[in-house]
């Protein structure tokens, strides 16, 4: 259980403090500030123990969120709770920043009141919370009958994440497959580790209590179907390949028993935006870019760097917001850069050459060469070469995941699967995409 929750700004000033249990005193707020936020050295651990009280903290931009407890709790659970708290706050007022928190502190207190009671998590689903949170100020007495019964059904209902009686004129569904691809590559071009962590984010604007079914090219399902019928030919001819998902987690609305037995994903969706599933794959990842570095030390005062990037996807697709960051030694005095495409600049404050390319089609290649002049130093320290990192955005899923179908059934209202307008979008972004040099 959680004894209290504090939010600080970067200076350590308390923005929000909510204490749930008697055993957490006011001095706990100061203890964390003095020992962690104002501590000179780096953060040694996300869990800090001060005078028999454990502080769990996460940092979002320059805001510190700390959960405090005196019990021997499950650490992972507290951290998950803090993330959830961040998600809920983001859903309500956008980015977590000092200004936003100050402007919304009444709302945050309301949220904290509903999410935790006596230190125990109660309800953390954004959609369901909307009924309880009254920022616009609903009056309790002149409330209409309908509204009241709606709250009652929400408060007593079995499905905690969706309220009844939702109506839309246009039934729409937006499906985003967001992936971040992580890579660590050796200078010789050998993949040391690579994985994709992806999220399927859905925005649903559907009336009633629809039942949805979501299908993707999961290897286990495709193989099963292939055995069952002759459909595998169709699968092959369309060039679709199935992917092996290492592990995945779902929003609480997904019926896990069905997933375990049939591996089908069926659910009654919450209203509005939510994350349907998270998954991770490690096999057969399409690495959108390959970075080939060449570093040559010419004497003690000069370095020659040549970096080639190759795009490795269909020529018809365009990657965007490409940025390559080539680190330079601390004693760099001057840099001459020549690049064929995009713009490159030496940023002394960041000790790096930043090379930006707006767009790049697939199966292309581009290169940059730089001459780095060094100040002669008597520092014998060898330059520990940090890896070359890269950022980009591509319009496909590097894991190879494809949405096969998303069906909507609503038996009570008169709209069918065909009437729902569905939008699907794939975005692959770089996570930690590093090549050692």
């Amino acid at each position: 259980m959680i004894g209290g929750l504090f939010i600080y700004n970067h200076k350590g000033e308390v923005l929000i403090s909510r204490v749930y249990r008697d055993d957490i005193g006011r001095n706990a707020v100061d203890a964390f500030r003095v020992n962690v936020i104002h501590a000179r050295q780096q953060v040694r651990s996300p869990v800090t123990n001060i005078a028999r009280t454990s502080f769990f903290h996460v940092k979002r931009s320059n805001i510190w969120l700390a959960a405090v407890t005196k019990q021997n709790v499950n650490a992972a659970m507290v951290f998950e709770f803090l993330y959830k708290m961040c998600d809920v706050m983001t859903a309500y007022f956008g980015k977590i920043s000092e200004e936003n928190i100050k402007n919304n502190f009444v709302l945050i207190y309301e949220l904290l009141d509903e999410i935790l009671d006596f230190g125990y998590p109660q309800n953390s689903e954004t959609g369901a919370l909307k009924t309880f949170i009254t920022q616009q100020g609903i009056k309790s007495q002149p409330q209409t009958k309908e509204e009241q019964s709606q709250i009652t059904s929400q408060v007593t209902g079995q499905i905690g994440w969706r309220r009844e009686g939702i109506k839309y004129r246009r039934n729409e569904l937006f499906l985003d497959v967001l992936e971040s691809v992580n890579l660590l590559m050796s200078p010789q071009g050998q993949v040391l580790s690579a994985h994709v962590s992806g999220r399927v984010v859905m925005k649903s604007y559907l009336s009633g209590m629809p039942e949805c079914k979501f299908g993707m090219n999961d290897k286990i399902v495709i193989d099963k179907q292939g055995k069952a019928g002759a459909s595998d030919e169709a699968g092959k001819s369309s060039g679709k390949q199935s992917i092996a998902i290492d592990d995945c987690t779902f929003h609480q609305c997904v019926r896990l028993s069905k997933f375990d037995s049939e591996r089908s994903i069926s659910f009654i969706p919450p209203d509005g935006e939510y994350e349907l599933m998270r998954y991770r794959t490690t096999k057969d990842i399409i690495l959108p870019f390959r970075v080939i570095p060449l570093v040559r030390e010419v004497g003690r005062t000069k370095l020659e760097v040549k970096v080639v990037i190759k795009s490795n996807f269909k020529p018809s697709l365009l990657a965007q917001k490409i940025e390559v960051r080539i680190p330079t030694p601390l004693n760099t005095s001057g840099v001459q850069v020549i690049c064929m495409k995009g713009k490159a600049k030496y940023k002394a404050s960041e000790n790096a050459i930043v090379w930006k390319i707006k767009r790049m089609a697939g199966m292309k290649e581009s290169q940059i060469s730089a001459e780095i002049e060094l100040l002669p130093t008597n520092d014998k320290k060898k330059w520990a070469r940090p890896p070359i990192s890269m950022n980009f955005e591509v319009p496909f899923a590097p894991s190879g995941l494809k949405v096969r179908y998303l069906k909507v059934f609503e038996s009570k209202l008169n709209y069918s699967d065909h009437d729902v307008i569905k939008w699907v979008r794939y975005i692959g972004r770089s996570g930690i995409y590093e090549t050692r040099c």
Binding site: P46, V47, A51, N74, E110, S140, S197
Partner: protein, 728 residues
């Protein structure tokens, strides 16, 4: 952070809140209340406004109500008399037709931290427990726990406990979990909520409906349950199976812990569970958020303690990313050391080598120590790397390498030659205390193989005046003496200087005494000194050379998924996080599960139904029979029932008081055992029961100490009843 002009602010707010014009304008009124709360958050004492805020609570505006309640909860303990004024409004709200308002009022009323509040909240809580809206029931259930925490020393009200046990069957999952939480807090003194077979099975079946927080908590509660027999055990395990692969890391870890606990007698099942949890644990280690990654790594370390081979195929997952924070890198290195085997040693060493040049000296040194650790098994490869690192001529690197050399020489005597050559060519001496000590030790121990040893030592002796650390000085004395014993010609002069300085000028007692000791030892003769200083060492092969022995799973399973694994010894040297409260939790758990005999006291549990009692009574045999030295009490059954309930004995049936034979059936719980008893008087068929009460006790599971406790409780309460009668 009270700032200047705080009194001004309070006065201004007070003026505004009592201004009728502002009171009439709802929005403006609310904005002033918001300002009060804001000042409160900043640490300003605004308790002077209590009266005005109480007035503001009488409103139909829910937002305003929430704000005022927040204020009142904070200051109620400072102004208990004024807070009582607000109670009326709150009680009225508890009967509001809107469940949200009811729940809100009840919750905040329970949050008031003041001593006299209990009498006002008891009734609303009891009503709330039977409310038709689950939202209110959730609040009311936790309200019971809050009420108890306000007056922890008072008697536990058995009716509330029974009600809470009954609510475990509530259709709303959150109500159910809140019941468990509340019971746990209320019954903490007695070992917490009792998980018997029906409750355990009920919880297992409902587990799917719960959200992840509730799931992981319920899984911890289930640790108390001991399935009877292997059949039930495996049924339980197969129900739990899907959660092992699940979803959220905390749930998975909690399931794994429960698995390990339940299957303590089946090592094969435990091993299988660990294998199946490998995927999810690895996923946690690669999670996007660094805190979860950290938690995952710490738990992997725990698993490695018994099954080091389990993760060796996945060693690449533990390679560090450049931008990861230090605490994660340190853990990853520790894990990599554990995972080394013949196949991956080259790649792992290559990887660790690249960390040795990390910007942070702490990490670089940790990486070097890790290589040294691997060196105990793969000596040659590591020696090459370490020697190569000396060429970097970095102070912190050199120091760490020298320290690693010292340990390596001790563990693997075959490396002495290579180490000595490396030290010989090393151009730079470490500057920190520990590094110096290590170098001196090496010079003293293996000085005959290091040709430059006397010169290095001379440098140290010349600089002894500037040396601050007494540990280094002591080490220097020992090293100089040892070197003198094997290379007397080169060393005699400097040893003399050193002893002279240490005895005459040194102010540190320790160093001076050590110098005197060596001086007198040398006076006894060189041979004597050699015998003592260079005598045979302990055989290094006696110590465990490489690899720790694999510990049984039970060693760490009890701390799994708690704070314990996250707190490395180095992370918090001053305060071990497995603090007393944690240990307390553990010990109570242990007691309940494994040592019920130590608990003679009776505990409250879910009430036993008449049918269940009858079934058990027929099933079991009489364990204990004794006559109580008094006739049956002549009080009416209701009184007896009330008296017994006070001592936590449940009465199931009584004969009327003048009936013959007179019979009564009662039952009670002591820890995890259930005691059933029959009281008999005046049955012509049983001679013992003619003039006094005959007590027959049946029990499951058997526990004689519990019976003794039960009998003594029964006797005292009987005496009480008799006493009451004589008074009236």
């Amino acid at each position: 952070m009270p700032y200047l002009g705080c009194e001004e602010t309070v006065k201004e707010l007070k003026r505004a809140l009592s201004n009728p014009n502002i009171q009439a304008d709802r929005l403006r009124y609310r904005s002033y209340i918001t300002r009060v709360i804001r000042s409160m958050t900043q640490g300003l004492d605004v308790s002077a406004l209590f009266m005005d805020m109480v007035k503001a609570s009488a409103t139909v505006d829910v937002v305003q109500k929430k704000l005022v309640y927040l204020y009142m909860c904070t200051y109620a303990s400072h102004k208990p008399d004024l807070a009582l004024l607000a109670i009326n409004t709150l009680r009225k709200d508890c009967a509001d037709p809107n469940p949200m308002v009811r729940g809100l009022a009840l919750r905040n009323m329970c949050n008031f931290r003041m001593p006299g509040i209990t009498e006002y909240i008891q009734q609303p809580i009891l009503t709330g427990l039977r409310d038709k809206a689950s939202y209110v029931r959730r609040v009311a259930v936790l309200g019971c726990a809050k009420m108890h925490s306000l007056r922890p020393s008072t008697e536990i009200d058995p009716s509330i406990v029974n009600e809470l046990y009954a609510l475990l069957r509530d259709p709303d999952p959150v109500v159910m979990v809140n019941c468990l939480r509340a019971l746990e807090e209320i019954l903490r003194e007695e070992g917490g909520v009792v998980i018997n077979k029906p409750i355990a099975h009920h919880l297992l079946n409902r587990l799917k409906d719960l959200d992840s927080w509730a799931q992981s908590e319920v899984l911890i509660f289930l640790m108390r349950y001991r399935p009877r027999g292997d059949d039930e055990l495996f049924d339980v395990l197969s129900l739990l199976d899907e959660f092992l692969q699940s979803v959220h890391t905390p749930v998975m870890a909690a399931t794994l812990r429960l698995f390990l606990r339940l299957a303590a007698a089946h090592p094969a099942v435990q091993a299988d569970a660990l294998l199946r949890a490998r995927g999810p644990l690895l996923a946690a280690c690669g999670s996007a958020s660094r805190e979860l990654r950290f938690a995952g790594l710490c738990h992997v370390q725990q698993v490695l303690r018994s099954q080091p081979a389990l993760y060796s195929g996945q060693y690449k997952r533990f390679f560090c990313g450049y931008s990861e924070p230090g605490y994660i890198k340190l853990r990853k290195m520790e894990i990599l050391v554990e995972l080394v085997n013949d196949e991956n040693v080259v790649l792992v060493l290559e990887e660790l080598k690249s960390y040795c040049t990390d910007v942070s000296p702490e990490l670089a040194q940790a990486a070097i120590a890790a290589i040294g650790h691997i060196g105990r098994t793969y000596t040659e490869k590591c020696l090459d790397i370490l020697t190569g690192l000396l060429a970097l001529q970095q102070e912190h690197v050199t120091s760490a390498v020298i320290r690693t050399f010292r340990d390596l020489v001790w563990f693997c005597p075959q490396s002495i030659g290579a180490v000595c050559r490396a030290v010989e060519v090393c151009g730079e001496n470490p500057q920190d205390t520990e590094g110096k000590q290590a170098l001196l030790w090496l010079l003293g121990m293996h000085g005959e193989q290091i040709s430059s040893a006397p010169y290095v030592l001379e440098g140290f002796i010349d600089g002894i005046k500037a040396e601050l650390s007494s540990a280094v000085k002591t080490e220097l004395l020992t090293a100089a003496l040892k070197l003198f014993l094997c290379r007397p010609a080169e060393t005699q002069d400097m040893l003399g200087r050193l002893l002279h300085y240490c005895i005459d000028e040194e102010s540190d007692m320790c160093v001076r005494d050590r110098a005197l000791l060596y001086y007198r030892l040398l006076q006894c003769g060189v041979d004597e000194a050699r015998k003592i200083l260079l005598g045979p060492e302990s055989d290094p092969s006696m110590t465990v050379l490489a690899g720790r022995p694999e510990e049984p799973v039970g060693c760490w399973a009890s701390g799994f998924n708690t704070l314990g694994p996250l707190a490395g010894a180095d992370a918090h040297p001053d305060a071990p996080p497995a603090d007393s409260s944690a240990q307390h939790c553990h010990s109570t758990e242990e007691e309940v599960v494994s040592k019920p005999p130590c608990q003679p006291g009776l505990t409250l549990g879910p009430p036993l139904s008449h049918e269940a009692f009858e079934r058990l009574w027929v099933e079991l045999r009489v364990l204990h029979r004794q006559t109580l030295g008094f006739p049956p009490p002549a009080a009416p059954p209701e009184t007896l029932q009330a008296v017994l309930q006070l001592v936590k004995v449940q009465a199931l049936a009584f004969s009327r008081c003048e009936a013959r034979p007179w019979k009564a059936y009662v039952c009670a719980r002591a820890g995890s055992t259930l005691v059933l008893a029959e009281l008999l008087h005046g049955d012509p068929a049983v001679p013992d029961s003619q003039d006094a009460l005959l007590l027959s006790v049946k029990q499951r599971p058997e526990n004689l100490q519990a019976i003794r406790g039960f009998v003594s409780v029964l006797k005292t309460s009987a005496v009480q009843v008799q006493g009451q009668k004589s008074v009236t």
